[in-house]
Symmetry: C2
Subunit: 325 residues, 2 copies
Amino acid sequence: MSNTTVSEARTELDDQTELEARRREFGRQLIAAGLLIPTGIDGLYGRGGDFEAIIDGIDFAVRAAAAAAYDTAPRVLRFPPVFPRANFEKTDYIASFPNLTGAINTFTGDNKAHRALLADRENGVDWDGHLESAGTMLVSAACHPAYAGLTGVLDEPVLLDVYGYCFRHEPSLDPARMQAFRMHEYVYVGDAEGAAQHRNSWVQRGLDVLAGLGLDAQAVAANDPFFGRAGRMLAANQREENLKTELVVPLYGGLGEPTAIVSANCHQEHFGENFAITAPDGSVAHSACVGFGMERIALALLRTHGLVINGWPSSVRAALGMPQG
Amino acid sequence: MSNTTVSEARTELDDQTELEARRREFGRQLIAAGLLIPTGIDGLYGRGGDFEAIIDGIDFAVRAAAAAAYDTAPRVLRFPPVFPRANFEKTDYIASFPNLTGAINTFTGDNKAHRALLADRENGVDWDGHLESAGTMLVSAACHPAYAGLTGVLDEPVLLDVYGYCFRHEPSLDPARMQAFRMHEYVYVGDAEGAAQHRNSWVQRGLDVLAGLGLDAQAVAANDPFFGRAGRMLAANQREENLKTELVVPLYGGLGEPTAIVSANCHQEHFGENFAITAPDGSVAHSACVGFGMERIALALLRTHGLVINGWPSSVRAALGMPQG
C-alpha cells in the first residue's frame, strides 16, 4: 500500500466517523425540537405535530403533481400496515430481502397454554415460543398489497395511488433509516412501454416536486440492497438494465453518499407474473412505480430549511399548502 | 325445557343466523361499492378513496370537538404501527388479551441460514422457524406507545392527541371487526379526579360529535374482552367500578348487540404504575382516554346514510368538512 493510499484510507475513515457523528447530532436535534420522539429502539420514533404537518404538506405537493399529470385520477387504495402472508409470498421479498421483513405472530392457545406463557414471562424467559403465525406480514413497500387485487386480464392499463406505512427491520442511528416510515406511490400496471414511460415521467415530475420544495435533488441510477451473495448479481442486473432511478439529496454536505428520497422503478414482469396479471394485449403485465419516501423528504426539508417550520421560505410553505406566516 | 324456552331459543338462533347473514351482506355491499377491498383474509381490507374521505371527515369532526374543548391544544403524537416489546410488556396486554396481540419476527441469519429458509419455502414447509423476534410488537391501542415518554414526575397534567393504526388478531366476517383499524384518542395523564373528569366530559362530547354526524348513539357501561377464566373477573370488576363507557349504535336494527364506535375509559393507576409516571401531587398518575374507532364510525355512517357519500345529508357532509354537493 503506498503512502497516498494509506492517507486516503485514513481520510475516508475520518469522513465515516464524522458522518456518523453528524447523523447522531441531527437525530438529537430532531428529538430536542419535539419533531421526533424516541421509543428506546433505534429507527423507531413517534412523530410530533410539526413533523406530521410537514408530512401532510409533502403529501399535498405530491398529490398536486399527480392531479396536474392525469386527466383521470389514479385509483386511490389505502392498505393497513399488515397484509396476508399468501400475497407477501408472491412478492418474493423473503428471497431478496429476508433481513428487512416482519412476520406477525400471535397467541392461539387456551387457558392452560396462556398460563404457561405467563409463567415464562414471570420467570424472565422469552415467551415467543408460545406464539404462532397469524398468517400476516408487515407491508415492506406500499404497493405490495395492491397487486393481488389485479389478478386476471386487465381491460386497460391501471394507475394506482397507494399510500401507507412500510416496515423494514434495519435498526440504525441514522434518522433517515427508519424501521417504520410512509411511502406515497403511483403505480402503473399494463404493457412494457407504458411502464417505462410511467417510470421516466415520474423521474422528471419527482425532480419538479422536490425543486418546488427547495430541494436540490439529482436523479441517479441505483439498485436495491438485495440480500447476500446471490443478491449481488440481482443488484448488478438491476443497474445494468437501468431499472431503478433514485432522486437523491445530500443531507450532510459532501459527507457520505447523498440520501435517496424518491425512487422510480421498473419491475418488468415480476409482479405481473407472480400475481398472474395479464396486460390488455394478452402478454404478462409489466409494472412500474414511483415511491415518495415521506419521512426522508421531511428530513431533507428540515436539513435544508431548518428545524423551525414557521421560518421556512414562503415559496416552500406555499408548495406544502401551509398557511403563510 | 318448556315449550316456551325452546321457542325462545329457536328465535335467538334464527336472530343470530339472520345477523350473520346481514353482516356478510353489508360486507359484500362495501366491497361491491369499492369502499373496502378484500385481501383474502377475514377482517383485513384495503380502503377505497371514498372510504378514506369518510375517515378524513370523521377526523375533521373529532378535531373540531377537541379544538372547541381546550384553550391549549393537546400535544400531538403520531406513532407508527409497531413499538418496542419492552413498552408493550409494561401495558400487560399479553396477560389480558394474548389472543389479540401481534409480535414481529424477522430474519437475522447469514447466507447459509437464508438458503435453509428458501429450501423449506421451496418444499412448501413453513419457514417461520428461521425467524427471530425483532424486538417489536404491533400497536394494540393507539395510546400504548405514548406512555413510555411520560416516565418521571409530571409538572402538570398531560393531554395528548394520539392517532394511529391498531392491530387485533380477531379474523371475522363482520365488517365492524377488523384486524387493522385506526383509533383517534385523547389521553389524560394526571390525578384521579382529572382522569374521571376527562372520561366523563368525552362521553358527552363524543355523543355530540356522533349526533352531529346524524348517528343516534347511546352511552352504555361496558367491559373489555379480557381473555380466559381470570379475565371474567377483570371484566366484572371493570363494570362494577364503572371504568369503561362505550358509545354504541345499532348497525342492523334490533338484531344483535349495538356496535361500540367510541370508547371512554378510566385506567386508574394501571399505566401510571407500570410506566412509573408520577402525578404533579406526588402520587402515582391516573390516566383516562377516549378512543374514536374511525373505521366503525365510518361503517355506522354508511349504514345510516347509505353507500353513496355524495347523497349524504348536507348537515352531515358539513360536519365532516366535505364540500357541499
